[in-house]
Amino acid sequence: MKPIFVHALLLSLSVVVFAPAADAIPDRPEKLQFPALKYEPPRAADHRVVLKSGPVAYVVPDRELPLVSLVIYVRTGQHTEPAGKEGLASLAGSLLARGGTKSKTAEELEERLAFLAAGLNASVGDTQGTVSLNLLSKDLDEGLAILREVLTAPRLQEDKLALFKQQTLQSMKQRNDDSADIEQRERRFLAYGENFWVNRHATQASIESITRADIEAFHRRWFHPKNFVVAASGDFDRAALTAKLETLFASWPFQGDVAKPVPTDKQFAAPGLYFVEKDVNQGRVSLLLPGIRRDDPDYPAVEVMNDILGGGGFTSRIMNRVRSDEGLAYSAGTGFPGGVYYPLSFVAVFQSKSGTVAYATSLVLDEMRKIAATPVTAEELETTKKSFIETFPSSFATKGQVAGALAQEEFTGRYAKEPDYFKNYRAKIAAITAADVQRVAKKYMTPEKAVILVVGQKAEILKGHPNHPVKIESLAPRMVNVPLRDPLTMKP
């Protein structure tokens, strides 16, 4: 174990007396001169280890603190859930880490982890599972032994399953309480369709039908080293940890399966204004458009375009117009995430008092038209590009981030196709021109296809505001009332 800081306590309380500044302070920050900053992103080759036992691991030593972090990414997800068993993936994740092991009851496992101040967690999300261990390096061997047992011989204790099922059912009852939750859920229905797998929600019936045998089958099917990618960082020697990982994954007691590719049969809703009635004094608005995959050649230009339009916080056009100029919203912006497996939708979001929902929506549509009609300014382009380029090193500020980012490249398959993605990233952004931005804006910013979701007091929102004559029904070809779904069946 290494000390945190080389020096011992070094506290000094002093009144500082300095010589007056030699050179004057300029009136504008552009006049300052900055030293060059050389930075090269981490290279996969420096950390990548193909374990004999199957998984690829990224092993990044970091001796500053006496801690070790291990994250195992698992190729599984909600898309593998059998019909009628919605909620299985999430329950399986919870029970794996919280349900005990062959040699320890759930209670014994929890107590031991707590005494060691170790974090051991598992979860299964939409397209990946995660099992993580974070502990003091002095406890690494014991922690790895526990992890091995969790992965290969979990107890999946019945009483814990019953508890998690009950907790899931109870939290379902809150599905319509918060307007933000309603908005988020309906947004996905509109962007990807009622039948797309991301919209198969757990229901009372599906949760009640899940048995320990279902969880066990799910675990044995997917939690196998051939489905694992590992990110390890912390206080260890690289060779020593690699050997420990080999032991961790050796001679697996069961045969796993390899999941089918993530389904991509999504369906975008018909253009229109979709209203969900909710009695709150602020309407929540999501404006959706069909999206893009991250490996699309257009994607770098789309990232820059989105940043200028609404992704760049206070520097973006929509924030300036909706918040700073008009005071119509606290948060306003856009997101255009490139999908890994299928195109993820574009979304512009804001929240505004009922009376100004219509006006603010019209401003957002207006900005979408503008960015397609006129090239962005040289200054806007420069600001955004510099921001992407200069903040790039912050993605790798800790060794944990380095291991995690590289492991994600491996897991999502980009490493295989584009091993130099990080190395080339800044050059790709630097090459984007105003013409590129306008071309993708024309292609993707298509207000006529917009699906506008509004959650709030419909009658008040339809009234509009005395100072702004725009009516919300004039902004879309049709208006659809979306009923609230029953929280336990998800049926409208």
Binding site: I4, S14, F18, F115, N320, E326, T383, S387, E390, D486
Partner: protein, 581 residues
């Protein structure tokens, strides 16, 4: 920007006896310096990543306000991003003329607004803030003001302060206001440290509060988003106000709506002169820099800010001792739950350490509340426990969400039973050690990156003294079982607590789609019956019930038809569900 309270953060250091002794002496080697103008500077060199996390705290929060200007500290947090004489405008001279003209119009508007409040007191209008109720004169002035805004917009350079940082590679730029402190922070690439110096010293030295009145509207939207439109926001605000009697913690950080609408530029200027003087600020840098050179740069840029004329006033109002238990019963769109607060102690108080240990004993998955309320007798599905020490006073919070079918009062009693055990029995040594081990490991985990360390220093400094990040940990490690038992007996009394009991609001969104057409008397009955139907697993019983409902329906009156049809529909759905299995 974020509104936060520091309630959920504990700053601790040092190690459990179980750990190797070599680690025991490690502290975060911050150096402290005071400039001649009173500015405190904290520096911590770390050379892992090529960046610097920089920030500063103004030791002012909502507790420094008074009725009439509540929310002003938070409004400042927004205004500090509006620029300087050279940042944010193309023509500063004209900018100042317009700002002054705007203020003259606003003065007249305030006179009209006073008339509206008078009309409201007489009952002539329903709400002095509704646009529909404005006087003709106020409408005129509003138009005049709007023209000045349009005029200013022509020379405005929008959000230029943010744009410069963005182009300079700044990230995580944000700010927050708490009850005690206002904090501003950003991470810049290591080579841009001087940009940070320029930007931050300029905005402290000569901020220009442009778009002041539009920003109040933004704050209103922030209030609607956080407080009005969330299931528990407005109730949590009311509960906090009920809890604090004399202390300024009784008003919300974001301010009362009437005050936000009435704050003037002049009040803002006074507030700034009082609380943003360098002797009330602490500048903090964590990251990849050379301390000696950096300190020289700090002196050059921040040393030019003149010292404030007066010392910053202390908050003198102490919370009065509570004489009787307080209870609030709220019907909200939420699962039933109970939330309990006790008055405890301020940041750095000797009792805050045993109270923090006590909170840990009760919280987490192996803590007593989870074991004995969630896992054991199963009265709750979720529980929580916090010791929240703020700068001027503190509170302890316990609560839980009821398991279906259990009442908030049952959860409440179960919590008191756990407290009684802590009052009457010493903690077993292993349980105390487990908690201390977690505090000790947390000492390392919190040091993961520059930004995280900066945040902790800002919070500790805002709550009283940054040294607490080195001194709190050892104090936690010395807490004994007897200390815990003593504080349990001292603070957890009936007279010292306030209890919020939440039940689900009748006819809340959960059942709306089905309950359309039911009378208010029928709804609660339907809710009860439907929950038993949903829980029923006996197929035969359900089928029999469906048959009975058919019979009842054939002879029911019109007003009970809807009700019975709903029950029949739900019974059939449940039958179908069970048959599918």
């Amino acid at each position: 920007m974020n509104r936060q309270s520091s309630i959920r953060v504990l700053f601790v250091l040092l190690l459990a006896a179980a750990f190797v002794p070599a680690l025991r002496a490690q502290k975060v080697p911050v150096t402290e310096h005071i400039l001649p103008n009173g500015l405190k500077v904290l520096l911590l060199e770390r050379h892992d990543a090529p960046d610097v996390a920089g920030g500063w705290v103004a030791k002012v929060g909502s507790a420094n306000e008074r009725p009439g200007i509540t929310g002003i500290a938070h409004l400042f947090e927004h205004m500090m991003f509006k620029g300087t004489p050279t940042i944010g405008t193309k023509d500063f001279k004209k900018d100042v003329e317009i700002l002054n003209a705007q203020e003259r119009v606003r003065e007249l508007m305030r006179e009209e607004e006073a008339k509206l409040r008078a009309a409201w007191r007489r009952g002539e209008i329903d709400d002095p803030q509704k646009p529909e109720n404005r006087t003709p004169r106020l409408r005129e002035l509003g138009k005049e003001f709007q023209q000045l805004v349009e005029e200013q917009r022509k020379i405005l350079v929008k959000n230029e302060f943010d744009r410069i940082y963005t182009a300079g590679g700044g990230s995580q730029m944000n700010a927050y206001t708490s009850y005690d402190v206002t904090a501003y922070f950003i991470t810049v690439p290591a080579n841009k440290l001087e940009l940070f110096m320029w930007m931050e010293s300029e905005r402290i030295l000569r901020p220009i509060f442009r778009e002041f009145y539009a920003e109040r509207d933004v704050v209103f939207e922030e209030r609607r988003m956080r407080t009005d439109s969330t299931p528990l926001g407005k109730f949590a605000e009311a509960f906090e106000s009920l809890f604090w009697e004399s202390h300024p913690y009784s008003w919300p950080i974001i301010g009362w709506p009437s005050d936000i609408a009435a704050i003037s530029r002049e009040q803002a200027d006074d507030f700034y002169a009082t609380y943003y003087a360098p002797q009330n600020l602490t500048l903090i840098l964590v990251g990849d820099f050379d301390s000696k050179r950096t300190l020289a740069m700090v002196e050059k840029y921040f040393g030019r800010i003149p010292k404030g004329k007066k010392a910053t006033p202390d908050v003198v109002t102490l919370e009065v001792a509570q004489n009787a238990e307080k209870r609030m019963y709220a019907e909200a769109e939420t699962n039933p739950q109970v939330d309990i607060l006790w008055h405890t102690v301020a940041y750095g108080h000797a009792d805050s350490y045993p109270l923090s240990v006590l909170a840990q004993i009760l919280s987490t998955r192996t803590g007593r509340l989870y074991k004995n309320l969630v896992l054991g007798p199963q009265v709750a599905t979720e529980t929580w426990a916090w010791q929240g020490s703020r700068k001027w006073a503190g509170q302890f919070n316990l609560g839980g969400e009821c398991r279906d079918g259990r009442k908030p009062e049952e959860v409440e009693q179960a919590i008191y039973a756990e407290l009684d055990k802590l009052k009457n029995e010493d903690l077993p040594a292993a349980e105390l050690q487990k908690v201390k081990n977690n505090f000790a490991a947390g000492e390392y985990r919190r040091l993961a990156n520059n930004h995280a360390i900066l945040q902790q220093l800002m919070r500790a400094e805002g709550a009283g003294d940054w040294r607490e990040i080195n001194e709190g940990g050892p104090r936690l490690q010395t807490v004994t079982a007897a200390d815990v038992r003593r504080v349990a007996n001292k603070y957890f009394t009936k007279e010292n607590r306030a209890v919020a009991v939440y039940t689900r609001k009748a006819g809340a969104a959960t059942d709306e789609p089905d309950f359309a057409g039911l009378s208010d008397q029928q709804k609660p009955v339907a809710r009860k019956v439907l929950s038993t139907i949903k829980a029923e697993t006996n197929l035969a019983a359900l089928k029999q019930r469906a048959q009975q409902l058919d019979e009842q329906l054939s002879k029911a009156e019109a007003k009970t038809q809807t009700f019975l049809k709903l029950l029949r529909k739900k019974t059939q759905e449940r039958i179908a569900e069970l048959e599918k299995k």
